[in-house]
Amino acid sequence: MYKILKKRMLNRTTVLLTVEAPLAARKARAGQFVILRADGRGERIPLTIADFDREAGTVGVIFQVVGGATMTLASKQEGEEIADLVGPLGIPTQTAGLRNVAVVGGGVGCAIALPVARRLMEEGAKVTAIAGFRTAEMVILEEELRAASHLFVLTTDDGSYGQRGNVCAPLSRMLGEGEPFDEVFTVGPLPMMKAVAETTRPRGIRTVASMNPIMIDGTGMCGCCRVTVGGERKFACVDGPEFDAHLIDFDEAMVRLRTYSAFEAKSREKHCNLFRMGSREGE
């Protein structure tokens, strides 16, 4: 069992959990992920590591409540335990030699952008962070990202906070002004990462996307997380999760991500009804 030491709601649907997991914390590096299971009936949920503390033996994850499994996980409180946490899995972010990087995060993906930005800062690179959200109330980690970058731009789709529009607008402007990025790192919803890749492609700037496909074991066994990269089949769990964004087949990845969407909708409904029943009992 793995104890939840800290729980914080970053916005209405996004949760930060700091979990006691010494074995995973020992080797954790930015860009890697862990798999958690809330309880004995729980789904294995892959989450990229948002934060870790080797000495304290803790791993931090940030996730959005999207289906039954994440609802169960979100219902756990500080001091309670979750059944399983395994990791670190996947290949860490490659930051060596990078001098000037744009880190582009979207929504809950900013949770993964943050440790990458921090790592780049530590290594002395110039970091530009661009964080995009749907609307003001979805904003997370604003102060943390600002502190982990030399230049910080925040966008919202509806203009309710920061610059109006998506992350590609400021990125495109900076590229147009001749900012010599030697890499763009992007993590967020698949359509956003695809758009970022298309923004950088004409200028030939190396672009890396962190993928978060459906997964079960996370060790190369199920083949569920397969992603087509440059025409080759890659397993995001052992070959990734980061790949050259100019080579990823994002359209295929979007189709694959929807494999269980009907089940997820049903499971969400079931959980919501359960919660409703629970609250009625309390009335």
Partner: protein, 465 residues
Amino acid sequence: MADLQVKTRNPMPLRDAAERTADFREVALGYDDETAIAEASRCMGCKTRPCVSGCPVGVPIPEFLRLAAQGDFEGAYQKIGEASSLPAVCGRVCPQERQCEAKCMRGIKGEPVAIGAVELFVADRHMQQGGSKISLPKPNGQRVAVVGSGPAGLACAGDLAKMGYRVTVFEALHLAGGVLVYGIPEFRLPKHIVRREIDELCAMGVEIVTNAVAGSSFTVSELLSEMGFEAVFLGTGAGLPKFMDIPGENARGVFSANEYLTRVNLMRAYEQDSETPVFRAKRVAVVGGGNVAMDAARCARRLGGEEVFVVYRRSEEELPARREEVQHAKEEGIRFEFLTNPVEILTDGEQNVTGLRCVRMQLGEAGADGRRRPTAVAGSEFSLAADCVIMALGTSPNPLLGRTTEGLVARAHGEIDADGDGRPSLAGVFAGGDAVTGSATVILAMGAGKRAARAIDAYLRGLHK
């Protein structure tokens, strides 16, 4: 009548096919005492013991059958235990018709003794009576790490514990058992049986650490240095699924058998309250001909598949699956498309699977492996409708360990290069099972684990002389 008794075996009582496809409970019902005694009595006790030569771990078969025939079921269990670590598992999943039972002299003029069915009976009887009272030797204080808790790892850990070693088993998943829990379905190997076998190991002092990925949470060299182990056994299996590299293979509704079976078996996706989804389809095509293909097809049937068919490129004779599984699959309404190979997975505009484009195959000359090579028949393309395709084409060893373990040599398909005793050229490191051989059987992996346990013992004795 007596003559008939001698020639034909006592059939394993099975649940009715229509009833069993409605749930995941075990198909085999097992013998009762009288039937077990009657079947064991069919053994002629041949002096040459041909059956033993057919067993990869050399179970003393005539001896255990003789005890069972006398009604000494516990004695029979202990006799099997001299050679096998997992009798309740092997009785259920071993391909006996190709091993011990293939060599049985009874089989010349009639049916061989149902050795597997008697083994299953005595193993279950043993467990019903509360398992073993194990007398362990004095602990010798030396620590051995076993990586992977599948059949190879469990067998190795059990034997080492009996020799007095302090064994820790590391498992990447949240539950121990390897392929016994994620691969083989409940209806063929109930998970409480695996749990019991593992509980027996724990009772012998074996420590099991789940959620621990070798090559990632820790390296092999760390096990041998700061983590304090004097030897390491790698039984990491062959988990990496193969695909066909045909168009449409990444469409929605195409799964590796590993994914499909892991969702069903490990994650129990067939149970109402499991949070893990599984793709429920009406027309399911399973590509491949091994036990894994049969398992996937039979799970698909139980998950509401109305038409489930196995697509195999060779003919029925070459099917690598156990005969019993093929028979059970047929009883359950699984259809077979033999001499058929998919060339494309067909999809609709939204990338949902709609079918398979296939070619008919013919068998030519035998290849290097002695099996007749299938080749495509020109102009024979045709389509099969399906809304789900499961690829059961075999697996290769996981690359994770090789990438992080300096000095560990991988062969062509990622298998660990090791000698007959499971020694790769790395001090203190031993390996066995599918990780070394590529995908094979539970019993072969168990045998490799046992051989490695002896080699580890010899190595550590040498070290401490």
